[in-house]
């Protein structure tokens, strides 16, 4: 019996080893970097994670792209700067004659129309569609018409109505301020001046899409819609080796092209031979490898199996920050990120679980803000070189914008305000329910302690798993909840718009007509200085007067770049272009 079992084990063992002998060993790429969790999606219209942006913006190129050092918009697939009308509402882009797809075909204006139209279509479900519908004339009306039709088709289900709607698609879209005047000229008409529009056109939602994607479009009754009336494509279109219906695989127009993508293992990029910078690229192949465990990723970096670590969120990152600051590890770089960590105060619910919500009163919110020593949190609790936040928009992050000073630590004024609100030394104030996730525990515990010590208030801490936390926050089932916001583009409105009445990301439920009016006025002000002043005035309302949020800190994220790698520039958006990377091992 033992002999038989042993023989079976040996055969099995040989089979296991044989599996590995069949795979050919590939050459190491010129440059290797780590993505902690693999790409969520390579569909540029649908992506919202910075890790996905990093790949997309290296394999695609928008009308503009971000300069690797300054992150200012520079020429992409179009000449720069574009023609801009006197009212700053019409942009005319000339596609560069040398702009090419990875199959050699020229990039045309129609490719951009295809990409932008797809991004706003309901079926695409694009997170960043609002950047197009909120700026391009007629886009919002078109999308509204589409959503109404889809809802009606769902109820009625009439084929005739479906056909009529499908037939009207192009005619309705023609009313949107986006047209290809010819193969090389794209005209965009905005409904109001947008000083950061050229920053937006570098974003993934504004990328062009090659015409080959149409082979994978879902069609119902010969119409370019699915049975629900939505625009839909086979989600496999982002794969380089997908060839259903004669689809040639993913075609892109960036400095690199995707040649291989194995889920949760690796994505390989190769130089796009048809791109204008192809001859000057130092790194011809780039590997993005997945490491779920950042500790293992750091070990791989230490062993030089990996050249670049853009995400270093390990539990001992304060130690990495210390090593960077002391100079003993010059390969660790600290990036001051355009992001804010803050607390939301629930400004909308009168009651929570049968208890009156004290956060409705701005004096209570302001008192809690004044009682929070943010310097201590940044230096003693976090200890990883984050910047203290007194404003929502990070100070110094935008060259044309200076945020207000905000409220600094002042416990005596805090106690006075709390007394004015009817809760002297916290008496009569219900316990403050604080909602957060596991990663926030140290900061939240420190803040709760400060409030208890300085104001005599009681706190109940609710640490929840992230999805449950997200749902509770969306449904306003909290008094105070942790918040985080990363800038989408280089303008103060990427932060300030969050607190406009009714904005989907206005988690605190804050509403102030004066605040909304200031932002509305700023949106229609062409003069940059006047606009910045209006925005600063609006921000002062939220960080000095009403305090619907309590800014705590602006993140500093460590990244690791091997000493033999050059051409990577740590920046506040954590976005990295690979076209300048040079690896000299």
């Amino acid at each position: 019996m033992i002999a038989r079992i042993s023989l079976a084990c040996v055969v099995l063992f040989a089979l296991v080893l044989a599996t590995f002998s069949m795979g050919a060993r590939e050459q190491r790429a010129d440059f290797t970097y780590v993505n902690p969790s693999d790409i969520h999606t390579l569909d540029p219209a649908r992506m919202s994670w910075i890790q996905d942006f990093r790949v997309a913006l290296n394999i695609w190129e928008g009308l503009t792209r971000w300069d690797a050092r300054t992150l200012e918009p520079v020429a992409g697939a179009a000449e720069f700067p574009p023609g801009i009308s006197e009212d700053h509402r019409t942009y005319t882009f000339a596609i560069r004659p040398d702009a090419r797809w990875s199959n050699g075909e020229p990039v045309t204006a129609a490719d951009f129309v295809r990409g932008w139209r797809r991004a706003i279509e309901p079926g695409t479900a694009a997170d960043y569609a609002f950047l197009l519908t909120g700026n391009i004339e007629g886009a919002h009306d078109y999308v509204h018409w589409r959503y109404q039709a889809v809802a009606r088709l769902k109820q009625v289900g009439a084929e005739a109505e479906f056909d009529a709607h499908a037939a009207a698609l192009d005619e309705r879209f023609a009313r949107v301020g986006l047209r290809a005047l010819d193969d090389r000229t794209l005209e965009v008409r905005l409904h109001a001046p947008c000083p950061y529009f050229l920053d937006l056109t570098a974003m993934p939602a504004f990328l062009p899409i090659h015409s080959s994607i149409e082979a994978l479009r879902t069609r119902h009754r010969s119409a370019p819609l699915d049975r629900n009336g939505l625009v839909a494509y086979d989600p496999q279109w982002t794969k380089p080796d997908y060839h259903r219906e004669g689809y040639p695989g993913l075609i892109t127009n960036g400095a690199y092209r995707l040649v291989d993508w194995t889920f949760k293992r690796r994505a390989r990029l190769e130089a796009n031979p048809h791109h204008s910078v192809a001859a000057s690229l130092n790194c011809r192949t780039i590997d993005m490898v997945c490491f779920d465990n950042l500790n293992a990723a750091l070990m791989a970096y230490e062993s030089k199996h990996v050249d670049f670590l853009p995400d270093l969120g390990v539990s001992y990152d304060h130690e990495l920050a210390r090593l960077s600051l002391s100079g003993s590890r010059p390969d660790f770089h600290l990036c001051p990120v355009m992001a804010t960590y803050f607390l939301n105060f629930n400004c909308s619910s009168l009651e929570l679980g049968g208890v009156a919500n004290p956060m409705i009163d701005r004096r209570v919110r302001k008192a809690l803000t004044l009682a929070t020593d943010r310097v201590r949190i940044v230096e003693n609790v976090r200890g990883r070189c984050d910047r203290v936040a007194y404003s929502f928009v990070p100070a110094g992050a935008l060259k044309d914008y200076q945020p207000p000073k905000g409220l600094t630590w002042n416990p005596s004024e805090a106690r006075q305000l709390l007394a004015e609100a009817g809760f002297p030394e916290g008496a009569g104030l219900p316990p403050i329910e604080i909602l957060y996730t596991q990663n926030d525990r140290h900061v939240i515990q420190a803040i709760a302690r400060m409030w208890e010590t300085e104001l005599g208030v009681r706190t109940n801490l609710h640490c929840k798993e992230s999805k449950t936390f997200g749902e509770d926050k969306s449904e306003h089932r909290y008094m105070v909840a942790r918040g985080k916001w990363y800038a989408d583009y280089n303008d103060a409105t990427t932060f300030l718009d969050c607190l406009i009445t009714g904005n989907g990301n206005n988690d605190s439920g804050y509403t102030n007509v004066a605040y909304d009016a200031l932002l509305h006025r700023a949106a229609r002000t062409a003069d940059r200085q006047a606009r910045a002043a209006l925005l600063a005035e609006a921000e002062a309302v939220i960080v000095e007067q009403d305090c619907p949020i309590l800014p705590i800190l602006h993140f500093t994220e460590p990244v690791a770049i091997q000493p033999y790698v050059s051409g990577l520039y740590p920046n506040g958006r954590l976005w990295f272009s690979f076209r300048d990377v040079n690896v000299q091992r």
Binding site: M1, L12, S21, P122, A125, D127, F263, K264, E302, K467
Partner: protein
């Protein structure tokens, strides 16, 4: 035996169906929006469009779709990684987990059984004491500790193995040993205990009295009976090893199925949760049937077990 086997298989299918249904009920009941990724709130229109696309407006219709797909072995789209289908994810991850699990179980059985036998035969000696200590440590130490230690020593300090990943021979030993250790400890313990019992049996004494060599008595006769409890443990243990260990995969960066169990649940990715649960429960049922068949082969007295 065939009719009994068929009956077990049918019951197994019913078990899997019940597990699938209960899992679905749990998935649609727990809080959290499966379509929202990250902190940014999904616009209402976007969410409605996604729900329409995936037929998630009505739970029962959604369940019907999932069941129809599962019967065709089409597990539908993944929400978190929307460019991939559940089938593609399983196709990539399952072979990795099966390979790693098989190797781990080979190591666990190949080392655990002989050590357990030897320890039982040399009971109360130094070897037995060392074995019991190993069992205690192996059962007590969590895999993220042993894995991290092995990784630090062999990969980082001594550079004898790569730091995580998958695809070559060199990627196999460390995760396989880490995964094997707790199973090995249990198998050693069970084998030792069972052998001690069986060595006192009448048939063993009779065999020795007949003049059979002790080695023959131990390995050809006693072990055959003593292996039965180990076999009972091996069924579910093998299923657990073959479907991936989240901890080992995370520590060593192995792209197996275990991580998808956990991440799919955290992300509320219904399709992937149900696909992984279906794979695991099917494997568990199948391996339990295999164990029952092997029972009969090992010990003809219980050939009616199936």
């Amino acid at each position: 035996m065939i009719p009994r086997l068929l009956k077990r298989l049918v019951l197994g299918l019913v078990t899997v169906a019940c597990v699938y249904t209960v899992t679905f009920l749990m998935v649609v009941s727990i809080p959290g929006n499966p379509l929202q990724q990250g902190e940014r709130k999904l616009p209402e229109e976007v969410e409605n469009a996604l729900r329409a696309r995936y037929d998630m407006d009505n739970n029962w219709r959604y369940f019907g779709q999932l069941v129809q797909g599962a019967l065709r072995f089409d597990f539908g789209p993944a929400f978190t990684y929307s460019d991939w289908t559940c089938n593609q994810i399983l196709r990539g991850a399952l072979p990795v987990s099966v390979t790693l699990g098989l190797l781990a179980m080979l190591i666990a059985v190949g080392v655990g059984v002989p050590v357990g036998v030897w320890s039982a035969v040399r009971r109360n000696g130094l070897f037995d004491f060392a074995t019991l200590s190993f069992v205690l440590v192996g059962v007590s130490l969590p895999t993220f500790v042993t894995g991290s230690v092995l990784l630090t020593l062999f990969a980082v300090e001594w550079r004898l193995a790569p730091v995580g990943g998958w695809g070559t021979f060199a990627h196999l030993p460390l995760p396989a040993i880490t995964l094997a250790l707790p199973f090995m400890a249990q198998i050693t313990r069970l084998t030792r205990m069972s052998m001690i019992d069986v060595m006192n049996a009448d048939f063993v004494r009779a065999a020795l009295a007949k003049g059979l060599a002790p080695r023959t008595v131990v390995w050809n006769h006693a072990l055959r009976v003593a292996f039965l409890p180990v076999l009972s443990y091996l069924g579910p243990a093998t299923a657990q090893a073959l479907t991936g260990s989240f901890v080992v995969e995370k520590v060593f960066g192995v792209p197996g199925l275990g991580q998808h169990f956990v991440n799919a649940a955290l992300n509320r990715d219904a399709g992937l949760i149900l696909a992984t649960v279906l794979v695991f429960s099917s494997m568990l049922v199948a391996l339990n049937v295999v164990v029952d068949v092997l029972y009969g082969w090992l010990d003809p007295r219980i050939s009616g077990a199936v």
